[in-house]
Each structure stands twice: as C-alpha cells, then as structure tokens.
Symmetry: C4
Subunit: 379 residues, 4 copies
C-alpha cells in the first residue's frame, strides 16, 4: 500500500512444524543403507555425538565408533584440562544445584594443558576408533598442530556462528583455506545456517559443515540474543549450498544438522530436509555410558557476561545401544533412532540417505492437544 | 533471493484446523441420506469399525452391521490365534499397567491358526452381517484364500503405508492387480495419503482405499519416524485421485478416512473433505459392547525394535447405539455421530454424502482458549 | 504439482487473531457517536441483548432500552410457556448440577401458550421500550401474527443456520419476502456467515441480518458438527454483501455480529470488521439484572438427539450499567464496553460506526504467554 | 470467488514470532558500537527508561545517564504532585493488594504543582545528566514552557496513540510544528505504529518517535479496545518512514521501540527491525535502584471509565548495572541486555546500530514446548 519495503520476513520451519510424506513406492527397512561419508571416512550410521564434555569422553568416542557412528571430543574441556577428568566429572555430577554454576566456572577456569591434547587423541586412536576433535576458532592455530601430530582423523572447528570471514581485534582471523592446506586433515566447520554463508565456507575446502544456530524455539541463544534459525529451514538452505557446490566443483561436502534433534522423528526430518548426518548432544548425554552421568552442561567459552551453561539433569534413560538400536517399549521416539530412520526410509522408498533427501515434506504443526491424549499409533 | 530451491514445503491441514462453511440452501436433517457403497455392498451409514482386536470381534461385526455400518475383523489378531479369545481379552484388560507390555508381547507371539481364520469368517457370515476382514500384505497370499473360501465379502489389505509397489527381500511383493484377479472379492487397500499413490493403487482394480498415515499431531508414527500427513489434506488428495480415476475409468472407488477422528465434527469434516466413509477405532473401543472392555491397543506387527502398541485406558462411555445415534447430554461431540453428520448435511444443503463433498471448507484453527471457557452453544 | 484441485481452503479469522490499527488522525472519544439504526428505529448504542431466557426478560428489555440498546425477547422460551416465569427461573438457578439437564428438558417440554406471546409483547411496549422478539423459522407463521397484533416493533427470525431457501418435509419452507409483505414490521434474520447467503437474504426485503455460525474456536457447533466460521471473516463477508446490496438498491441493511464477543476488544473488532451492531449473550447474562441469576443456558430447540444446552455458571459480575458504561477497575475488557468502543473510535479517528468500518485491521494472534504475565497497559 | 473485497487483513509480527539470521561475516562483540543519537545528544547505549513513576525518578535518570542511556521523567506523576514523592512511593509499595487501586486513584487525583515541574528538571540537570521529560498532549502547552525554562534537554510528548492531527473539543489540538518552533528543544513524539502516521509526524519537525500501540499479545489495550500492532511490524513500518523522510529531507529521526521488550532477544530484534533505540519499562522497574521498589503501575491519565493501571509486583531482580551489563547466571535473557546486543551484532557482522538494521530476519514462532524443556544453549 505504498509503504516502501524496509524489511521482508520469510517463514522458517523447525522439526515440530513439518512431517515427511510417504513415497510412491515403499521398501522393507532391512533393505536400506544408512551410510554416511565424511571426506574418505565411511560410517554405518549418519550420527555424530556432540563435542560436549558430558557426552563424549575418549572411551565414549570408541563406543560410538563400535556402534557405527562418530564421537567428537571437545579439545578445550575437562579432558585436556585435567589429568584425571573422571574425578572432575564426578565432582560436577555430585555438586548441589545451588553451587554448581560456581563449580563449573572454577573447573573450566583451569587452563588447557597442551600435553593432554595429544594424549587424548592418541587414546582414541589406540582404541581403533576414527578420531574427531572439536576446537574453537580462537584456539585452532595453537591446538590443531598438536592434534594432527597425534594422529587426529577429522578436525571440527566450531563456534556458535561461523562464517568464512570473521573480524577480531584479539586474534588474527582464522583463514580456513590456509588451515586446511597446512594440516592436511579433513575439517568440519560450524555452525552456520544460510545458503550464502554455507557456500562460502564450502569454497574454503572444508569437508563437512555443521548446521544450526539457535535452532530450538526454547533455545537460549534465541531467548538471549534473538538470533536463530529453525533447523528444517537451515538444513534445506545448507543442503542447497552443498548441491550448488557439488555442481560447481564435483566435491560433495557432508552437511550435518547439529542441535535440536530429540527424537527419531526429528532425526528423520533433518535427513529428509537434506542433511547427510546429524549431531546429537542431549540424547547421548542420556546414555548409561555417557561421561555426564545423567547431566549435561554447555561448553566452556561463552561471552564472559552472558550466562554460562548451567548443569541440566537429563536423566539416564538407557544404553547407547538401546538409544541407537532399541529394543524399546517407549513410544516418545527417543529410543531406537536408527530403527526409526530405517522405517522412515522404507516408507519413503529410499534405499539410502541421498534418496531420502528427495522425500516430500509438508508443513503440519504438531501442537500437543491435551484433550485428545489417548490416540493410538495405529488408530 | 537467489537461493536454489532444494525443497519446497506445502501446508497440510488436520481436523482441528478447518471448519465447514454452511451452504446457500439448508435442508432438514431428516431429509438427508448417509448411504455409503463399497463395490456392490450398500451401507446405511458411512462408518467402518477399525480392524483392531479391542474394537471388532465377530459379534461386534454383527452389531455394526445391524446399526448400518461395517466392522472389519483383524485376521491376524487374537481371534485367529486363540480358540477362546475372550479369556485372552480378559487377561489383557486385567493385567496391571506395569506388566501389560510383556503380556501383549507374549499373547501376540502365538502363531495364527489357519483353521480359526475360516471359522471367524463363517461366524460373521452366519450372523447375517457383511463380512470384512483385514490382513497385512505379508500374510495376504497365505490367508486371503482361506478367508475367501469361508465366504468373506470384503478383504482389507492394510499396513502403515501402502503403495502399488513395495520392494522386499523377505517376501515377494504383493501385486494387487493379480490378487484381485484371483480372489474375486472386493479389496480395500491402505493406508495411503497422496494423490499419485492413491491413483496408482486405484489403477490396480481395488474397490476402496484407506486414507491416513500418522494423521494426528500427537501420533506415534509422526513422533517416532517423522512421517505423516494430517487427515484433511490427505483426504482431499485421495478424493482428487478418486475423481480422476472415475473420469478415466467410470469406476468409483470408495475413499475411507482412517484415523484421527474423535468427534462428530471430525467425521463431518472428513466427509466434507471428500471421504465416502470413515473408519473409527478409539470411539468404538469406548462402546460398552467393544471387546476391549474400555481399553485399546495397537496392532500386532510393528517393527521389532520400535515400540509395540501399549494398552491405553479409553474408558467405556456408552452403548454403540448411543455413540452412533444418541441421545446424549455430552457436548464434546463424541456421541450421536450420525445425528451430527445429518445436522451438518442439513446446514450445507447436502441430501447425500456426495453433495457434502461440495461443501466449502475454511482454515480456522480451534485453539482451546482456557480463559473463555463458558461459551454457550447458542451464544 | 499436477494434483487436480479437489477443494481449496481459505483462511478465516476470529477475534483473537486480529487487531485494529490506529488511524492517521485521532479524535477525542467524547466526540464520537455510537448510533445504530435498524429500519426506522434508532439506538444510541450498537448493542443487542441475545434472545436467551437467561439474558432477556421483558423487564431486561426495558432496561436495555433505557441504556440505549435493544433487548430481544425469546418468544419460544419460559416467558411464553409459563404464567409465572420467575418461579421457573428460580428453579433452574437452584437446581443441583447433577439434575439440571433433566430439569431444563422438563421445563422446556411445556408447550408455548399463545396468549402469553401477546402479553409479553404488550408488557415490553407498555414500558416504553422498542419491542423486539425472536422466533424460529418453524414457528414464524404461527407466532408472528400474534406478536404483530400485540404491537411488536422488530421481528427476529433466528436459527443456527438460515438461508433464503430452506427445504423441509415437516413444515412448508418459510419465504421471507412473503412474510415481510404480510407482517409489515422490520425483520431481522439469522444466523448466516457467507457473502452469497447474506446477499440472497437481503434481497428478500429484510432489515437486518445476524452474523455468526459456530463462531468460537471452542464452540459446541464446531466441535459437534464441524460447521462454523470465525466471526471476523464472517462479518467481513456479510458487510461486503450489505455494501453490494446498498449499491444495487439504496437500502442499507443492518449487519449484527452475534456470538463470540466477550470483551470490549471483541466488540470493537466486530464493528471495525464491518458490523453495524453486535448481539451479546453471556456478557449480559453476567449482569446483576439478568433473569438468569448468574447462569446461562442454550435455547430450547436443538436436534432432539444432540446435546441440549447445559446450564453454565457465568457468575454475576456487575450491573448492566457497569458492563456497558463502567466505571471499572477490571482490566480484562469485560466492563465498560461502550467506553472501550469510544476509545477505539477515537484512536481510529472515527466519528461514527460507519467510519470505524474503514479502520485498517491486521492479523496478530493473541496467544497467551504465561511467562510474560506482568505486562502493563502502558508499558 | 466473486466476493467484493470489504477489508483485507495483513499479517503483523511480534517479538516472539521472529528471529534474526546470522550474517555472512561475523565480528568480535568488543568491536561493536551501540551508540544512539537523538538530535544532537549522543548516548553510549540505545536504551531509554520509560516515563513511569515506578521506573524513573530524578536520581534514576542520573544513574541511567551514568550507565550510558537516558531516563525519561514522567512530568505528570508523583514527582510533580508531591514535595516528598518518596513517602508516596513507599505508601504505594506497602498498600495491601485489596486497596491499592483506591490508593493509586487518590494519590493521582492530587493536582500537578507547577513549581515542582521546574525543580524536577533542575534536579536532573544539576546531577549532570541529560534531562528528558514526558508530557501528555493535553498538558503540553502548560507544562512545556516551564520545563524548557528550567533547562530540559529533550521533551517527550506521549499518549497511547499520537498522530499529527488530533481532533478534540476540550483543548485546542496540539500542533507539533508550532510547539517545536516555540520551545527550541528536541521533541520526541509517540506512540505510533504506521508508516503514514509516522511520516506525517516526522514532517512536523520532531527529533524522535516512539513506536508501540498495544504491542503485546496480552496487552490491556488490545484486550480492552482491540487496538494494537505487534512491535516488529510496527518498528519496520516506522523505520521505513524514517528512511523515506531521510531521503526527502536529509534529517534522520530517531526511531525508538517502546513497549513489549522483556529480554535481550527482544531488544536485539527491535533494533534489527529498524529501531535506533528502545524504551524499557518493566525491565528497569525490576532494578534495585528503581523507585517502584519491586512494583510497577500504569500512568495516571487513562479514560475515566476504563481501568486505571493496577499495581503489579514485578520483583526486584538485580542492579541496573547487572540488567544492562551483567554478569548473570540467569539464562532467560533478562540480564546483560547490552552484552546480548553486542553478541547479536557480532553474529550479524554489524559494527553499529545502522548495520544491524540490515540484518535478515525470519518468521520463526517461539512456542514453548514443555516436553522438550531440557534443551541446552549449545545443543
């Protein structure tokens, strides 16, 4: 109506707002392959465990490897600050709620010990697992050579928002193309959410990209700083960037949706939206074998005056094997994630992950309707 | 904005999000006909009872017939596994909540007895009712000849998602056109949700189609595997396929919306969206005469590692007659479903089901607003 | 995507989903006129009280007249069935909740006494008030001559859905044009919701139209039979019909939004959406002077097997004067409805109702956000 | 469908419905400038404290100045009605809930004392702070010369809805262009929400505009009179007006989003939507130093018969410094608002406020999902 356009708003969608449409052919779940590839590394299942201290310890990384996935170790957390991280984990788990924030601040104020960086990598390599570690951009120049020297397989450079160009006074901006040239190890970079940013990152020579900034509707990043994009739309944009980049270069970058995935349904939707893999935190913090012992907490380096990660009681709900492969009598979708993925692939006639990318999706909000609670799966 | 389209999302709608618009003429409800036809079988009311063990027993099938509708017997459940199903039903109803999943798994692990397949069909036929039975695709080749031999009238082949082409290692894909040629009994197939899939199924020679995959916002299929389409949109697509098929072949396939219908309002919306009939589970599990005795539970053959149907206490709320025809003093729409349908038809000026298909519908979300609770029907 | 269009769904809006945009000029509320006209009758305020037994008695009709509005008496309720309606009202108010449905069914089964029809009208006329009464289409031919004979000023013919053409076996369809020719009294007809239906009704010669079928998201009509249109969209359509009819004939029909209005905000939105007046039930049942004594219940003639109106405790919240004109310390918008209207008109620069019709409206859902409860009016 | 368009409804958005998209470059938060300018006055942070008695006293205005922002004193409240306002504030804070409305009505019925107007301004000036005061249009002609005489720096003329043209019987309409010519002090005017209204106000020569009418979904103005526009859309429209006006005249008017901002996320979204600054009430009423002592209440001059502001217990949550600059262990976004803004600017690659205006925003509703409560910031 004659009003000049100052800003146009487009709708973005999250997991709870979409659903996958069954395909025109169906296949038996046992005929599907859930294989994921990152650079030359092949994985039976398209699942990474988040680089959080409560989720991935060196031994959990080994277990994830045995289960077919990949655990990413946080190289700036407890495991590289303490000779005996397990005592520290116990201290966090047993701290009363009233003092836990102080406890966490004290624990994470101890400096990273460079010798532990190397020995963590070596411990994982020795177990026979593919070794992936996560570093923040600030510490990449210092820590990445040590990790590479120790034999790391995949390096993840991760901060809340990552772009191909970061401006900083305090450290000279990390240039991914130079890093990759130097270290000669596949690099995964994140997190990002947009087509252009993803494309620019891909052009630096990375092997994988982590998708997700403030993904959840209840996410702290969105509440505190207002920034965030729901994961389905973010994944669709980054998948589009991957396809553009593949068309231009012939190189296929692995797109990994990171954050906000709680159920098998979320996982299936992330992949149908274009992800090649997913990264899960809390669902694995709930595993019996997780180092967090039923708790989870945020990473160590937020803005000094913004809230540090608080410890959250996520409860232990089963073994890692049960969470990934079942069996389960729970109907909320938090167990047997891979079984769920194979069933969804069967319903969509997708023999592999790339075929699931072609599944049709619809917008279909899942507002919980209390009054209609006793609906049956087959009703 | 220059972003290549990786995936487009269209909006789909469920019962709670739409409403029917009154017509330009109105008629008295007593002048409406609710007749439904499946192949050559005619029914006074467009209502099928779901093939669930808690909903349809041979005697309930007879009662549904007397009330004008059609009860579909699950041919792979308790009635064909046990000589005395009623003791088994009692065991399920009286099992404590803590052990009921184990009880159900044990009960359904007993193999189907082929002799009981025949005698179930015969029992329904003897009562004078139209006999419809449901089989899964895996067991169709084995069980359908027995059912046909025993005199079955209508065969329902049903799994969570059905397409005209299923790929499997473990059993040779069921070809519906061949099945129909062989058994010479009308076949209903389901479930499906999309225009193309529905059209391809219709082209195999079936007589009816069941619409509904993961219909409910709170549905387990959507939570666990992320797959599902809300029923109003699914019904509109399948009705479009029916009309296309009718134009091409002159054969009118019965479209039956199956799942997610809880109230008279839902039922009316399903039919206004294009359904020729509806299939109800839980609303009939609530009937005094239902075999489930106030409980309902899922069917017997889910993915081995995904959750099996849990037993749900749906409570007995009235007789089957009250649920279908009233009278009622309940205002939540769960009773007198047929009375509600006739009132809706009257408001839309629809003398029959096909005229109700022409009713205008709108998108009008029914978010429950607590604070405005004491709204009156006539206010 | 090549799917033939079986049915298109358009979005319709209710009060909770829209808001009025302030105008480019503002005026002082004391300079606004809220005048409404029905045929040759002029009213200071655009407000009718619903023809419900708990809302309008002959004396309440008189009081509404003194306050500037119009009370419509239900001519098929208690006042025309009982010589002494006040004892009956007391019986309803004092019945325990468990038996009240039976009490209501018994009370309303007593036949209408034609002599009381006349004396009700005369009682209202004697008080000096404009006399409006409501009749159902079924009883119009029988009761309207009596009412006219007794001096009624305005006749309302009202059923859940009314069209210019109703088909019935049990009584010969009411032809409004003939009725109007015969009785020579202005006729208000309702309820309706669509442009075409409203236009066809207007062409019969009526003076006013009641807008609203199943308006509320939680409305019984929508829950039970699935039929309904939110009031903002329904009002916009009927206002469009009024303007079309005015352009074609020069006759201005009064459009009255009936149902779903609970607050001053709702009232303002109804008028901004195009209504010339509003009809309120529950808000007036809450008046100290209302015959329902803090209760409200549905009208007497629903479908015999669908739920009859249950008695609802709406609580007495103030005098009729306070509800219409304040003062109030309540901030939920249920008091001082006319003050609110005048403030809204001031904010929109509307000197009268027709100017408020030109106000811009936006879609702006009012989802209650618990966590943000302590928001201030001026914050 | 042939229905003439009576009224078209456009969608408007609030803070809870949008999110900011990270940019293609990122910068370190410590490199950002949050500077705001009003006429020739420069402020380190783009934050004003609302002209509410519970929020800004003369000493709070001084404190806001020291913290880099601007406190606006209500010139028609307690501070200009009472020699000793602090006793009065104590009386309000200690009144029992049952009588507080009466207490407030009595307190605000005492007339404004013109000598206190001058001494309030002088007190703020003496402290060294920039002095801004708020007056209603009705009292502007009387009070503004006194304030100017006493040395006021910025004059805010504020009512619920303000336009360039107000029609009134009781006082001759205030002409902003004449006022500005006379008083020779920068004038901020509000509140308004639309492009045309904002542009017309800007053309009168004002220096700033307050954006916000009935902004919150739970806002009393929307509930009571139905008028309101969500803040994101309102800010976008007023920012468009600012840019148009700047293009036409070269004069840059400060756009200040006023109302509905509760968290750092809301603040960031307001600025990304085009605001040059924000005005906060309740968040500052929660400061230890706020005059309201943990309470807040509406301004003094609503419609006599509409509800007066009730006193609301907002609780004291921290010092003003903590609210603006942290540190905080609270994760709900209510503390360290400026830290949050700088982080958001960093994520968007915005070195200053005007660059944040260019950030992309999306529609992404933040429906709280109870069942998914334990989501982590970095998960």
């Amino acid at each position: 109506m004659g009003v000049p356009l100052f800003k146009e708003l487009h709708r973005a969608y999250g997991f709870d707002e979409v659903a996958i449409v069954p395909g025109r052919i169906t296949i038996n779940p046992d005929m599907t392959s859930t294989e994921m590839t990152i650079a030359s590394h092949r994985f039976d299942i398209p699942v990474l465990a988040s680089a959080m201290d409560a989720v991935v310890s060196p031994s959990l990384a080994d277990l994830m490897h045995k289960k077919g996935g990949l655990g990413v170790l946080n190289l700036e957390g407890i495991y590289t600050r303490y000779e005996d991280p397990y005592t520290v984990l116990e201290e966090i788990a047993s701290a009363p709620q009233s003092t836990v924030t102080d406890v966490l601040q004290r624990i994470y104020s101890k400096p990273i010990q460079e010798n532990l960086v190397g020995s963590c990598v070596e411990a994982i390599k020795k177990s026979g697992a593919t070794c992936a570690v996560a570093i923040t951009p600030q510490n990449t120049k210092k820590l990445s050579p040590i990790a590479v020297e120790a034999g790391v397989d995949i390096l993840t450079v991760q901060s809340t928002v990552t772009t191909a160009k970061h401006v900083s006074k305090s450290y000279k901006g990390l240039v991914f193309s130079k890093l990759i040239e130097q270290i000669k190890v596949p690099v995964i970079v994140g997190n990002c959410v947009g087509y252009s940013t993803a494309l620019e990152l891909m052009e630096t020579g990375i092997s994988g990209i982590l998708v997700g900034v403030g993904p959840g509707a209840a996410c702290t990043t969105r509440e505190v700083v207002g920034v965030g994009v729901p994961q389905v739309s973010a994944t669709i944009e980054c998948a589009a960037a991957r396809d553009t980049h593949f068309k231009q270069t012939g190189k296929y970058i692995t797109v990994i949706t990171d954050g906000g995935i709680r159920t098998g349904g979320d996982l299936c939707k992330a992949i149908a939206a274009g992800a090649d893999g997913v990264m899960l935190g809390t669902p694995f913090a709930q595993a019996q074998e997780a180092p967090g012992a039923g708790f989870n907490w945020g990473m160590a380096n937020p803005h000094p005056n913004l809230p540090r990660g608080t410890r959250i009681n996520v409860r232990t709900t089963g073994t890692l094997n049960e969470i990934l492969y079942g069996p389960t009598s729970v109907t909320d979708g938090t167990r047997n994630l891979i079984g769920a993925l194979k069933v969804a692939m069967g319903m969509c006639g997708a023999f592999n992950i790339k075929e699931l990318h072609k599944a049709e999706m619809i917008i279909a909000p899942s507002i919980k309707t209390e009054g209609k609670a006793f609906q049956l799966a087959s009703d």
